[in-house]
């Protein structure tokens, strides 16, 4: 039994799909003439005929792309760099007829690298987008929102193939109907035809002379295959670069994050292009790209393509009545680098000064909320007006932003700071950090910026906005004058840089 297929492999069926995959590879590498006619022959005859021709081509040491495609077709899995090198060295030292038999024997001996039971399609000269996480999960925070706003816009304007990974994370496959809905129709309840879903059978998807876009931070298990794809397959690899928090601010994340991210960086260093979601994110990745010159690599070409800052859709409508007691709204997952702890400390100072206001926290618990939880418990025990709302719907979030006096988002590290942009687009002033992407967003108005490591600075900013109505009103007017960057603009610029540019190396 195979765990993934859930049914017994039938030898003849496997040979039929092996014939199919090798035909696809041969068509790409050798042209139609190479296929000949093996109609009516038993399964496997075509495969062995094609392997002979394909291996001959692969003996040319300069054809790493051909070796990559042959191994992918044979094993139903993208090869790693080690597998490619081993195969190349083997071909250089082994007579042709032995190499043919050895390759097919290896497939039979090691059928579990990927999915030997599935047929494959080739995307030749096209664009593939890896949306694996968004396809498999309903989570909808930072990265997932970017993917679900951007990739459907691409699909509407361009020829794009969205792909996920097989469960072993060694090769791309097509999306199932519910998965496609999670990416392209998120938040709606699309009609999925039950019969169509039942009969759905995935196909492997293999890029050839194409652009592969990683729109998410992929599963760490993909690193070895993706590094080889970027370096040896002849495809170009483009990425959205969100942030390097697990490395640059490692002390604020769990160690497993740093390990996974270092695996991702083994792919980044071989990628061709990387679009940072802010100047700050671009600078972070450019720093990494500069550091790999020490190992003889150029690193990806890094450019800033700034994320959109549209108000969420639910924002339209009449302004919500503001409460009599001013509300300070604290946004963000409750984990160390979001730094809500400092805001709570500033609030306690101001309550002791006699100011009257409420603090509301929106955002779920993150990987560690030990310190903030203790602070919240202490404040609640002292009967301070603190409300922990946890994770809320988009509609509720907008309602909270609109009825707040101002938002505090003084994070220690952000790739972008989507909550800042969205609060401003909704017309609510924001206290945010005076560096990095948060400072970039603040440049266009509506914000007070502070050093988030300086409790006095945060206290002063809160005091000012709680006591100086003119200042708050001035910032509110500034929010109205901010240019709004739309998801359409973001999607178009991202496509232009990551996919369309002619001068791709």
């Amino acid at each position: 039994m195979t765990r993934t297929a859930g049914r017994r492999w039938d030898g003849a069926d496997l040979l039929v799909v092996l014939d199919q995959r090798l035909s696809v590879a041969a068509h790409a590498l050798l042209g139609d003439d190479a296929l000949g006619t093996t109609d009516g022959q038993p399964p496997g005859v075509r495969a062995s005929a094609l392997v002979a021709q394909l291996i001959r081509l692969c003996q040319d040491p300069s054809r790493s792309d051909a070796r990559w495609l042959l191994l992918t077709a044979a094993f139903g899995a993208f090869p790693t760099v080690d597998q490619l090198k081993t195969f190349g060295r083997f071909l250089e030292l082994t007579p042709l007829e032995i190499a043919e038999a050895a390759l097919l024997a290896d497939v039979l001996n090691d059928p579990r690298r990927g999915r030997v039971d599935l047929p494959m399609t080739l995307v030749d000269g096209g664009t593939l987008v890896d949306v694996d996480f968004c396809a498999r999960n309903d989570t909808h925070t930072g990265i997932h929102r970017v993917v679900r706003e951007t990739i459907p816009r691409w699909a509407a304007r361009h020829d794009v193939t969205a792909v996920a990974w097989v469960d072993k994370y060694t090769v791309f496959r097509t999306l199932g109907p519910p998965e496609a809905a999670r990416v392209f129709d998120y938040g709606t309840r699309p009609h999925i035809d039950a019969a169509g879903e039942a009969s759905y059978r995935p196909q492997l998807v293999v890029p050839w002379r194409s652009v592969v876009v990683l729109s998410e931070v992929p599963d760490p298990r993909t690193s070895r295959c993706l590094a080889a794809l970027a370096r040896y397959s002849g495809n170009r690899l483009s990425l959205i670069g969100y942030d390097m928090i697990p490395i640059t601010s490692a002390e604020t994340r769990p160690p497993s994050d740093s390990v996974a991210f270092a695996g991702y960086l083994t792919v980044v260093k071989h990628a061709h292009r990387l679009a940072g979601i802010s100047r700050s994110a671009a600078a972070e990745f450019a720093g990494f790209a500069a550091s790999v010159t020490a190992q003889g690599l150029a690193g990806p070409e890094v450019r800033e393509v700034q994320l959109a800052g549209e108000a969420p859709r639910a924002a339209a409508g009449p302004p919500a009545p503001r409460a009599a007691r001013p509300v300070v709204l604290c946004l963000g997952t409750r984990e160390p680098h979001k730094n809500q702890r400092a805001t709570l400390h500033a609030a306690e100072r101001l309550w002791r000064e006699g100011l009257d206001f409420e603090v509301r926290l929106v955002g779920g618990p993150g990987w560690s909320d030990t310190v903030i939880r203790r602070a919240i418990d202490d404040l609640l025990a002292a009967r301070r007006p603190v409300t922990v709302l946890g994770r809320v719907s988009d509609e509720k979030l907008i309602e909270e932003i609109r009825s707040a006096s101002f938002v505090v988002f003084a994070s220690l590290h952000e790739g972008y700071g989507l909550p800042v942009a969205e609060a401003l687009a909704t017309g609510t002033p924001v206290v945010t950090s005076n560096f990095g992407s948060q400072a970039e967003i603040a440049e266009a108005g509506g914000c007070l910026t502070v050093d988030p490591r300086d409790d006095d600075a945060i206290t002063a900013a809160l005091r000012r906005l709680l006591t100086d109505a003119d200042e708050l009103e001035r910032l509110r007017r500034e929010t109205a004058a901010r240019p709004v960057r739309t998801w359409d603009e973001y999607a178009d610029e991202l496509w232009e840089f990551l996919v369309a540019s002619e001068d791709m190396p």
């Binding site: 250089e92 740093s258 960086l265 990745f285 010159t293 020490a294 100072r349 990095g436």
Partner: protein, 495 residues
């Protein structure tokens, strides 16, 4: 605060006098008096400790408990102190003092140079990093006033070295393991130069060094070897990236990093420019290239190495380094096999231990030996015989994917033997001064071409040998003096 052992009270009483003296001195130095309400503290501390000042909280916890606090502890205590006049600080002192730490002798080091040798002092083993730390520290101890230090177990506190540990640094040999740590005096640095000439990556050590570097008036410097766990994670143990990233989080707040090569400086500089995302400028980084002092092997070593390595009259190709994937030894085996098939005659010897990910290498060596190829491996070799092997070799190979320095390249050239190495990074830096051919380590044929040249072209071989012999010598004395100058002498003035 019911069941406080008498020993704790006695320890606090005497340590309070230390703390008081240090902070009174600080005030004489003109530090503005910013004391806030300190009514929650014992009388002896009320007029000197500002319980809301993070540096004061750090110092108070370190001195009174004998253990260094991490950043979160200091910040949270200082915050709570604002509302209770230091009661939280005193509670933290009570909570964090252990029976063990109450028994330690504590000394506050003011205006000293402290050199952190925790790992190097604990072993007589000599990896590349330990060799650098030991050779450097030995010369600093000879030439300058400084205090070498280690850490108490579990990295709770910085402490003076034991006599045995000091001997390990100064002589490079001593009993392997003497359990003499607990009674050593704990050292709390204050306005010191704190220098780390080794990799200090243990998570508990990193967390405490982060607080020390960020929150206290100490000045900090470190030798930077490479950033391989982050830039080439595919070549290191899974998990080490996180440990190393923790080290970088501490180094972020250090004042200076002396890297061992220009390539290592490029790695650290790339990392530092990433710090703009968090509004941190990061340390000043400067390359101080490592030296190599070639030893002249004696006749016994030469004879022993000859009988061990030379196969008939075949030229010897030598590869020095552990068999981890980053060293690219599979490419060496493939290039050698291509040349053997061409009919070239030479023997190939590897000197270095097995390591993470070396199984494929071991298998391939066995394959080739079964086919009768003259290839073998040697895992342990004395320094004298290694230098002899360098001299006996026709050439050496070092086609690594990423190195902070590339010691075997420098050693081969120091012995006057041509080397084939990678065409980038620290290896290219070493090659630039002559005696080397460079290749693309990702291309086996590029490596094979270079090896063929050195085996068959006597003119090239003679030219490179001559170049190697003419290279300027760089000594450990020069290196130690330059690093000291950069990390200690030219460090920024005390804040």
């Amino acid at each position: 605060m019911a069941h406080i052992p008498a020993g704790h009270r006695a320890a606090w009483a005497s340590r309070m006098q230390l703390l008081r003296a240090v902070l009174l001195d600080d005030r004489r130095d003109g530090e503005p008096d910013q004391r806030r309400a300190a009514g929650g503290l014992p009388d002896a501390l009320r007029d000197v400790v500002d319980p809301c000042n993070r540096a004061h909280v750090w110092l108070t916890l370190a001195v009174l408990t004998g253990r260094l606090p991490d950043r979160t502890t200091v910040v949270e205590v200082a915050r709570a102190d604002e509302f209770d006049g230091g009661l939280t600080l005193w509670r933290a002192v009570v909570d964090l003092t252990t029976r063990e730490s109450a028994g330690w002798t504590v000394r506050v080091a003011v205006d000293e140079v402290l050199v952190d040798l925790a790992h190097t002092a604990s072993t007589v083993l000599t990896t590349g990093i330990q060799r650098v730390a030991r050779e450097t520290a030995r010369r600093w101890l000879r030439d300058h006033a400084l205090t070498p230090v280690s850490w108490s177990h579990g990295f709770q506190s910085i402490r003076e070295l034991t006599a045995v540990e000091r001997e390990r640094i100064e002589q490079g040999r001593a009993e392997e393991d003497v359990d003499a740590r607990p009674e050593a005096t704990v050292v709390v640095p204050w306005h010191c130069r704190y220098v780390v000439p080794e990799l200090a990556a243990e998570p508990a050590r990193s967390a405490r060094l982060l607080a020390l570097a960020e929150l206290t008036p100490n000045r900090t410097g470190v030798i930077g070897f490479d950033c391989v766990p982050i830039t080439s994670a595919e070549t290191t143990h899974t998990g080490f990236a996180a440990v190393f990233a923790g080290n970088l989080a501490a180094i972020r707040h250090f004042d200076r990093v002396a890297t061992i090569s220009g390539a290592a400086a490029a790695e650290y500089s790339g990392w530092r420019s990433s710090l703009s995302a968090i509004g941190v400028s990061g340390p000043l980084i400067e390359a101080v290239q490592l030296p190599v002092e070639a030893a002249v092997p004696d006749a016994d070593d030469l004879a022993a190495a000859s009988s061990r390595f030379l196969v008939g009259g075949l030229p010897l190709v030598l590869v020095v380094g552990s068999h981890e994937p980053r060293k690219n030894h599979l490419a060496v085996l493939h290039a050698a096999e291509l040349l053997w098939r061409e009919g070239l005659q030479f023997s190939l010897s590897f000197v270095g231990g097995n390591a993470w990910g070396s199984a494929g290498f071991t298998r391939r060596v066995l394959d080739l030996q079964r086919q009768g190829r003259p290839v073998d491996t040697e895992s342990r070799l004395s320094d004298g015989r290694l230098w002899a092997a360098y001299r006996l070799a026709r050439c050496t190979l070092f086609p690594s994917f990423n190195e902070g320095f590339g010691l075997p390249v420098a050693e081969s050239l120091g012995a006057g033997t041509p080397v084939i190495t990678s065409s980038f990074g620290s290896m290219a830096e070493l090659a630039a001064e002559g005696g080397a051919l460079t290749c693309d380590p990702h291309d086996d044929h590029s490596l094979a071409d270079a090896l063929r040249t050195l085996l068959t072209d006597d003119a090239v071989h003679a030219r490179l040998s001559e170049e190697a012999r003419r290279r300027p010598t760089r000594t450990w004395d020069m290196y130690a003096a330059e690093v000291w100058d950069f990390l200690v002498e030219r460090g920024p003035a005390d804040a």
